[in-house]
Amino acid sequence: MTIFSSAFSRIGSLMAAGNPWGGGSSDGGKPSGGGSNGGGPSNPWQPSGSGGSDGRKSGSIEDLFRKGGSGGPGGGFSGLPKRPNGKSYIPWILVLVVLIWIGMTSIWRVDAREQGVVKFLGSYSRTVGPGINFTLPSPIETMEKVDTQAIREMPIGTPSADDENFVLTSDQNIIDMAYEVRWQIRDPEQYLFQLDSPEDAIRDAAESAMRAVIANFSLDDAIGPGRSDIEAQVRTRMQTILDDYGAGITVQGIAIRQSDPPQAVNEAFKEVNVAQQDAETAKNNARAYARQIIETAEGQTSRFDQVYEQYRLAPEVTRQRLYYETMERVLGKVDKTIVETGNVTPYLPLPELRRRAETAPEIVADEPQVVTGASR
């Protein structure tokens, strides 16, 4: 069934291209270039998009004769076998051809996502919804199916580095942009009859709107926080432009894929990031130092405060105790010499020098660093 129906829609669309003998010499229309066709069995034969004088393919009856198609009336008079009663097969063959013809070009299956635009002798007649639909056979009525559900995507610029799409910002800087337009056919009649090339119109409108919008944004906004604003403004602008054309298209949204400084200045932009990191590092170090000296201060003063509390309770005794304890610790380790004042000439440094004179020969050999004892 599916094979049958797809063959149906294929032949149907051949007919819709206006050439009743499908597969004639006219180029049968080109799949519309550019954007996606929305998938599904939508009709790849859009109205001839060339807009030039050569692009017309009407369902004119002239074509029947110019093409000298097969199976036309009056064809095939020779060399056909006769039926047993001597009558010709020809009338039957003709009837059969006509019946198949009518069947193929007047029954249409329109998908749930599609709408069918029916033209009666080239003039718009009606738009039909999904399901099985009937029209008059081909040269008289033709149908074009348009997918009105699909959200189509049109990429502009590429997010790669080697292909740059420059846009100027309000502060006369340059950014490299890539974005995507998502759009949908809102009104199939307008879409088919109003513009010679809807996709070109969308692309033009997008590029123009994007540049006009970016021209109001500074570089810093455009590459960062302004993105969603830009997307919204471009969408509105595009919609206005396309509505002015009567394009029958809804712009669903713009998605900026890339808005970066150009490759050529990227290093300088990275330098700013590095500088920000450096500044942050300097501040962190300062904060660490700050904590350290404040903690030290608090530690030392808290120690002092506690001792002072005790001292206040018994000042004299505490002071003496601290003095003696300290002196014990200090004098316990050092060489002490008690000298009566006045009657001795102290010769210095007695103990130290003597000790060194003894130990030096052995020590210098393997532990030189010990020798440097007094150099502090």
């Binding site: 807009g51 017309r56 009407s58 004119s60 009856i61 029947l64 004769f65 009666f120 002798l121 080239g122 003039s123 718009y124 006369q172 800087n173 009859f193 010679d196 119109a201 033009d204 123009s208 540049r211 006009a212 021209a215 570089l219 002015d244 054309y245 400084p261 200045v265 290093e267 300088a268 932009f269 330098e271 500088a275 500044a279 942050e280 501040k283 170090n285 300062a286 904590r291 000296i293 404040i294 201060a297 608090e298 003063t301 002072y308 000042p315 002071r319 601290l322 003095y323 300290t326 200090v330 004098l331 380790k333 060489d335 002490k336 010499t337 000298v339 007695l350 130290e352 007094a374 502090r376």
Partner: protein, 280 residues
Amino acid sequence: MNGRLANPMFLGVAAVVTLILVALSVSVVQETEQALILRYGEPVRKVNVYEPNEAFGTTGAGIAFRIPFVEQIQYIDKRVLNVQMERQEVLSTDKLRLQVDAFARFRITNPLQMYRSIRTEDALRTQLRTILGSSLRNELGKRSFATLLSPERGQVMENIQTALNVQARKYGAEIIDVRIKRADLPEGTPLESAFSRMRSERQQEATAIRAEGNKDAQVIRGQAEAESARIYAESYGKDPGFYDFYRAMQSYEQTFNRGDGEASVVLSPDSEYLRQFRGR
């Protein structure tokens, strides 16, 4: 005669001739087309000419009749058509060069006028492209570079559209829209100098950020030092005399207690420490 009529051969030929005649005298004009019926090259009738605000299906599209061999039919697009202008280099008043891509959208509203004046859509396109290019250069050449980028550009485009419309009307066309698609600095020196300006701006910014970071760091350090001084003062200030004593003790310990007794102390028996030692 009767035999003649019954002759299938004759019937067939008659049918074919009739069909050919019908085909030659009937044409289908599509919804997207306008048509002129020409008699020996001279337009005599118009079919499905564009009217503003007409609904599809109520237009003149459909069957058009003509006299075979005497009249020909000439189809002319009815849709909104576009003209893409090739890159123009525009010199702004402040001598900056700008490469501009523009496009126009137009519609042939008077096919008879168009056919008489210029014949084909392609010729019309070429003509419009030329006019668009020159009016762009004229209009944009009167402005400064900044204006070209600014929102004020809208006014410029309106002027261009008006100028273009005056010309287009001569050819039976109406300009619906003119827009600048791209406005770029030309490759080479202008682009490079813009880049180097961008670079130097960023370098400035980087330097400023670093300097500010250092300043902030110093401020943080200073505040901390002040704070610790305050903490010390608040605590030690309670009894400067005792602080002096206490800190001296700490200091002796710090200085003498390091190392392993390389220091020598010569004490006088009169020293405070040996007061009791002397037994006085």
